[in-house]
Structures are given as C-alpha cells and as structure tokens.
Symmetry: C2
Subunit: 218 residues, 2 copies
DNA sequence: AACACGTTCTGAACATGTTCAAAAGGAGAG
DNA sequence: CTCTCCTTTTGAACATGTTCAGAACGTGTT
C-alpha cells in the first residue's frame, strides 16, 4: 500500500476510535450503538467494521494504546522506591490515575473471564500485553530478596493481585474510589510483608505447598 | 389464582426451563436461541419471556434450584470431617461433582463481575443465595479455633476463595478438570494452614493489617 | 348461556451487533 | 486515457435478544 494511503487509512481508523471513545464516555459503552459511532465519524457502519472486528475491539484498541502510553509512567513508578511495597503501590497508583477518566469503560473489558475469549486478559490474543505488563512486576522485584523456589512465580502472582485490584477499582462506587486506594495500600503492604516472610526458614513447609500448587496451575 | 391453574403455570415454566437446559447442554448457551427454546416447548417466544425475564434468567433459574438441591449434599459435606481442611474440601468437591454435567453452562453466569448486574454473584439480587452459601462456611468453621478479630470475616473469605475455585474450574480444560481439583486441594490446605497460623501470637501484627483491610472493604 | 376479568400466549415489530456483495476510489501500468 | 487491481466504503440484509398490543383461555358470577 501507498504511504499516503496508509496515513489516510490510519487517520480514518483513529477518527472512528476517537468518536467511539467520546460516545462511550458520554453515554457508556452499552448505551452507544455502532450506528452512532459511524454517524459521528461520517461513515457507514460497515466502515467501522472494516477497521475494528467488533464493538468491544474498540475498547481493546483503546486499552492497547493506553498500555503504550503508560509505559514511561510505569517506568518511573517502578524506579520510585527501593522497597517492594513502594514500587508496587506506585505501579498500581499510576494505573488508577491514568485510567481514571475511563474507569467505567474498562468494565466492558473486564467482563471477559473466559480465557478462550480473545479480549480476556488471560487469552492467547492478549498475551503480548500481559507479558509486557508482568515485566514491570519482575522489575519491581529486582534486588528484593526472595526464596529461589518462589522466584519464578512471584511476578505473575503480583500481576494477578494487581489485576484483582483493578477489577475492584473498576466497580468501586466510593467517592474517588477511595475504597480501592486503601484496599491497594493495605493489601500491597501485606503482600510485601509476606514476600519478606517467605524467606524465613520457619515458613518453608507452607511455602513448599504453595510452590507445588503453582507448578500445577501455571 | 386457581390451584389447578397454578400447577399448570408452574408446569409450563418447568417445560420451558427444561427445554432451555437441554439445548444449552446440547449446543451451548450462546448457540441456543430463544426461538429454539420456545419451539421445543411448543410455544411462541413471548411465552418464554412471560416466565423468564431474559435468556440468562434461565441459567439463573437453573442455578437457584441447583443451590436448593445442593443443600443436603453440602449438609453432609460440612459434617464429614472434624478438621477445617476436610470440610472445605468436601464442600468444594460436592459442588464440582454436582455441577459437573453443567459446568460450561455456569460460564454464562460467571461473566457478570459487575456487582450492579442482577445476575452477578455479588449483586443485591443474589444476596439471599450468597448468604445461605456463606452459612456453610460459617459452619465449616464451627469449633475451629481462630482469632476473635478475624472471625467475623472468615466465612466470607472462605466463600470468596471457593468462588475463585469454581471460576477456575468452569474454564478448566484439563481432563476431568484435574487441575482444578489439585488446585482446590492444595489451596485449601494452605488456607487451613493459614487459619491455624493466624492464632499464633507472632503473626498478630500482620493479622491486624489484614483485619483493617477487611473493615475497609466489606 | 352470557359476561367480566385475570392469566397465559401469540407473533409481529423493534433494537442493535454483525456480515457481505457490490460500488466507489485511487494508484500504477500500458 | 483506460484498464487493472487493491483498498475503502456503502447500506441493505441478517441474526437474535427483547417488547408489547392484543388474542385466546379459563374461571367464577349473574
């Protein structure tokens, strides 16, 4: 394809996505129809489907660029502290802050628990995003002492916890999602405490069981 | 309403539900249309909607009667052991076994993470079911020693863990859901271990934080 | 029998996500 | 300029969950 044509195509795609996100923010994901999105872009419905596989794919496209825009912020977050707790809190808070405007929109994605669904955060299709994201938790653990046997699983476990926090946050109706913030604060404090505890020789037996469990599941 | 009419009405409702469940099992929830369900019952679509608010409400109706049928089985399960771990395992395994035939069907329900949605396991509408279910975990904890401050939260926490296990199980593609079974086994062993550990004076500070967290969230 | 009235049932109509055959556009080749 | 080929766009058609005005039914009353 032509370079100029490529640019134009990408512009059209962006215009559709922008219109969609505007409408999603204005009236919610479910209340917005594909016909409205197309109309606001000045195109027919078919055009929207030419660029996006489905209505939900629009949300996914948003999520993908968001994840890219987030990268420098996560970069800063992960380096903001020497302690695990501080790093984890910075990571989670960076996401809370970044997605604040579109919090409810993420609800449209979080409904996919089925790992076979391409839009699920656990699907094969979203693997690239997921692994990159897990990488930040790997870095948060850098120079943190932890038992050898648990080490390979910890980044993914922390990521999972953060996904849980995000999920809670998406549906958190409290003022300014304050409940989520304290939940994050306290649960991450506990997590950091447990990671420290995990190296204590006394807890080895229980850690053994945990590692066995993880081997079977992941 | 007439007694005879009431019986007939309930029979029709049951016929619709049966037809629906048959079809769901034959070709999956999504692949089944309301028109097919009505046709198999020998009625028009409208009739199905007279008895059930929505397609998903059919699954919910199934779940409600299932929960009732499960009660005697859970009763047995909760009394099957003196130890917490044994009781929890019996409870979870009773559910796995009972729902085995309709495992995939539960996927249609589990997609509702949004607590505002009436079919969510966390919604106001499903509160009665949920509280009854939590009651079994309360009973599983009977005559198990645990710290006072944590006691009010434990049943709900155990219920939550079991919900997580059920969710994993619903999408578990391994032969006979063996992965879920080992996951349940091992994670419940850890849970029971942690409950025992929670009473140890040394862990009081970390338990304090956990309790604070729970106060803020529940 | 005729009527009134609540319950049950009908099926067309509607809303909306999605598909698809065909039209329109545009760029390069001859 | 015309033809070809690929990309983009159109908009009607489709599938399916859901609604709803009205028909049919059944039962008790007069």
């Amino acid at each position: 394809m032509n370079a100029r044509a490529l640019v134009k195509s990408e512009e059209t795609r962006a215009r559709i996505l922008d219109a969609a996100l505007e409408l999603f923010r204005e009236k919610g994901f479910e209340q917005t129809t594909m016909r409205e999105i197309a109309a606001r872009t000045g195109l027919a419905v078919g055009a929207a489907y030419y660029y996006f596989r489905s209505k939900e794919a629009l949300v996914m496209a948003f999520y993908e660029t968001a994840q890219q825009e987030l990268e420098p912020l996560l970069e800063v977050a992960v380096g903001s502290s020497k302690a695990l707790e501080g790093r984890l809190r910075a990571l989670v808070e960076a996401k809370f802050d970044y997605f604040a405007e579109n919090r409810e929109l993420l609800g449209a994605l979080s409904s996919h628990v089925d790992p076979r669904h391409p839009l699920s955060p656990f699907s094969e299709a979203t693997k690239a995003i997921r692994e990159r994201d897990i990488g930040y938790f790997e870095r948060a653990l850098e120079s943190v002492s932890m038992p050898k046997d648990l080490a390979p699983y910890l980044p993914r476990l922390l990521w999972l916890q953060q996904m849980g926090l995000m999920l809670y946050w998406v549906y958190d109706g409290s003022e300014g999602q304050s409940k989520s913030r304290t939940l994050a604060e306290r649960s991450l404090k506990i997590t950091a405490g447990l990671v420290r505890l995990a190296s204590v020789p006394l807890v080895r037996p229980i850690r053994r069981i945990l590692v066995e469990l993880l081997e079977g599941v992941i």
